[in-house]
Subunit: 91 residues, 2 copies
DNA sequence: ATAATAATTAGATATTTGTCTAAATATATA
DNA sequence: TATATATTTAGACAAATATCTAATTATTAT
């Protein structure tokens, strides 16, 4: 299996969960800390932390430590890769 | 939960498997029967049948009975819906 | 230094998923 | 009609997944 497939595996895995898709939508609006993200869901912080990890492994988000906080941001460059993959379904 | 979310749920679920993504690529080339699709994999026919069912529930493929065969085809209209969803991540 | 806050890691558990074999259904052919 | 072929359905099972609570790590404030 090629590295490209493995990466797309991670991307599709990451997108295959409504909580993670909602997290992406929240980060589209503005960057947020892990805690701010967790506040938007009725899910424990460790679970949100786990979702964020899966999004990171897919390169869909980046994270940066700011003091005791961790600030998350959406990574739109991988979105272009998804576009390319989806395009191959049509052409 | 809205019907749109449910549909995207099914779409992302369907795409979250390399065998199903390969099936879509095969159907992109040309329409094929369930048996022809199964011949391309080292997976039992019932398993492939199950994959095809998941792709159908996501509206990613259509099927048509032709005598004793079932001919499968890719449905590109849903691809446009995926595009729209992915686009919302950028704008 | 100690306590409080933010986040992650560890370990457990119920649910979902991908796969298999066996059985059932539907169609074609001898 | 009986047999062969194509496909799906049913039921079982191991692996993956999403969730939780408890514990740990890192940083800030008293």
């Amino acid at each position: 299996m090629s590295k490209y497939i493995i990466t797309m595996n991670n991307v599709f895995k990451a997108l295959n969960d409504s909580t993670r898709r909602e997290i992406l939508m929240l980060l589209k609006e503005k960057n947020r800390t892990a805690g701010e993200i967790a506040d938007q869901f009725n899910i424990s912080k460790p679970s949100i932390s786990h979702h964020l990890d899966i999004l990171k492994r897919a390169d869909l988000v980046t994270s940066e430590k700011k003091g005791q906080f961790v600030l998350y941001a959406i990574n739109t460059t991988i979105v272009d890769d998804i576009f390319k993959w989806i395009l191959t379904l049509k052409n």
